[in-house]
């Protein structure tokens, strides 16, 4: 076997992605308000507790049945096909919103989650993490969640609210989000 090639390094998304990467319908994996839809939303904060108005978040998830979507159409959504992927930039309050469905478990007994990547001006490379569902019985046996301290675990579990789920991202600080490496 040959040595694997070294990865091409990341660089910051910078301040000027706003006219290039967001597009109409990017954050609506399902039409807002459609049957079974939820709002997944929250704010992104820096180490001083200030909201970050120039972050970009992407989620990738199973469908409600736990199947992995392999349908095209994320860039031109037809309103019927669930592609499992979406993108949301933060507003001036650091707030993002997705319209989606709750992910199902990919395997029996597995804890469902949204895979999340975070980009921002000032952040030199992408960050990976997961958004777990509050109160899901499988969370108690999830290998990642059980490997974390209670405080760390709390940063990865969304909270339920009137319209769905709330999940804040803290790049730094007392409530710094637990970020992941898969290496």
């Amino acid at each position: 076997m040959s040595t694997p090639d070294r990865p091409t390094p990341g660089q910051t998304i910078g301040p000027f992605f706003g006219y290039a990467l967001p597009y109409e319908g990017d954050a609506d994996l399902v039409p807002p308000g459609s049957a079974g839809s939820i709002r997944l939303h929250g704010r992104v904060y820096d180490g001083a507790g200030n909201p970050i108005p120039d972050a970009l978040l992407e989620i990738w998830q199973t469908d409600a049945d736990g199947d992995i979507p392999q349908a095209e159409g994320s860039l031109h959504r037809d309103g019927w096909t669930f592609t499992g992927w979406g993108r949301a930039d933060t507003d001036l309050n650091g707030h993002y919103t997705f319209s989606t469905v709750l992910p199902g478990a990919a395997k029996d007994g597995a804890a469902p989650f949204f895979a999340l990547t975070v980009f921002a001006r000032g952040l030199l490379d992408k960050l990976h993490t997961r958004i777990y569902l509050p109160g899901h019985p499988a969370n108690a046996g999830d290998p990642l969640l059980v490997s974390l301290s209670e405080d760390e675990r709390a940063t990865l579990v969304a909270t339920a609210d009137a319209t769905g789920l709330r999940f804040d991202v803290h790049l730094q600080g007392d409530r710094e989000t637990t970020f992941l490496t898969y290496g």
Partner: protein, 263 residues
């Protein structure tokens, strides 16, 4: 129009260059001691905006679950082939040096990343972005938006037709200028391989001065972001060619050879 007055810094390039040199030295020492130095560093104070925006804790290891070993799927309904030509957005030709940028996207084992989305954005030839927060008083070009997309082909190859971006000033310190670059966004064979980065042009005199480029402290890894002039990609009487290959690593599901007729 005068130069922008917001975000005035009192720090000079000499201050920054001293910090850059010190961090490179520490990083090379750590590497020599066998530590795995992250490339780029996330905690890199010479890039002032990173100070409050980098995680302070090491990332936690996770065994990738099923969804993370797959990538979202994009196709012909998502991307019009014309989106790979950034020079046709207006009614006239954009101003600047016409270039072709092309290369291959592979995984760490050299296998092609096929039929995947590549997105780019860039400044125009005067160093100006079409963006409402952009303050640089260089001219906008009505015939250039600086945004493109394409899908990789069955060999993992992408190709864009564009114009060479100009360097531009920014507020990091006094007289801070970014080397000319094109922003690239890439998807791999797994979500773990997601990458956003920047492609640079050969022999830019601003490399040594730029804290974003220098946040990659290993020369070999920095070099991987610099395109190569490729005369075979140049088009006679029309445009200059640059080759830039991209390697996306990270665990993914088991590789399967393309099926017969799948290409």
């Amino acid at each position: 129009m005068t130069a922008p007055t917001t975000k005035q810094s009192v720090e000079t390039q000499a201050d920054l260059s001293a910090e850059i040199a010190e961090l490179e030295k520490l990083s090379i020492e750590a590497d020599a001691e066998g530590q795995n130095v992250r490339q780029p560093l996330l905690d890199y104070p010479p890039y002032r905006s990173s100070i409050l925006r980098h995680p302070t804790k090491d990332p936690r290891h996770a065994d990738p679950e099923t969804i993370e070993l797959w990538a979202p799927c994009f196709g012909n309904s998502d991307v019009d082939p014309l989106e790979a030509d950034l020079t046709i957005a207006g009614s006239n030709e954009p101003i600047g040096e016409r270039i072709t940028v092309s290369g291959r996207v592979t995984d760490g084992e050299g296998r092609p990343v096929r039929n995947q989305l590549v997105e780019i954005w860039q400044a125009n030839s005067a160093g100006r972005y079409i963006h409402k927060r952009e303050q640089h008083p260089a001219p906008l070009d009505p015939n250039f938006t600086g945004v493109g997309r394409c899908l990789t082909d069955s060999e993992g190859r992408y190709r864009f037709q564009t114009i060479k971006p100009g360097p531009y000033p920014w507020g990091n310190h006094i007289n801070a200028w970014r080397p000319a670059h094109i922003h690239f966004s890439l998807f791999g064979r797994a979500f773990t391989q997601r990458l956003i980065t920047q492609m640079y042009f050969p022999s830019d005199p601003l490399f040594a001065l730029d804290p974003i480029y220098q946040s990659i402290t290993s020369q070999k890894d920095r070099d991987a972001l610099v395109a190569r002039y490729d005369h075979d990609l140049s088009t006679p009487e029309y445009s200059m060619g640059y080759n830039w290959d991209i390697v996306l690593t990270g665990p993914s599901r088991t590789w399967t050879e393309p099926e017969e007729g799948d290409l």
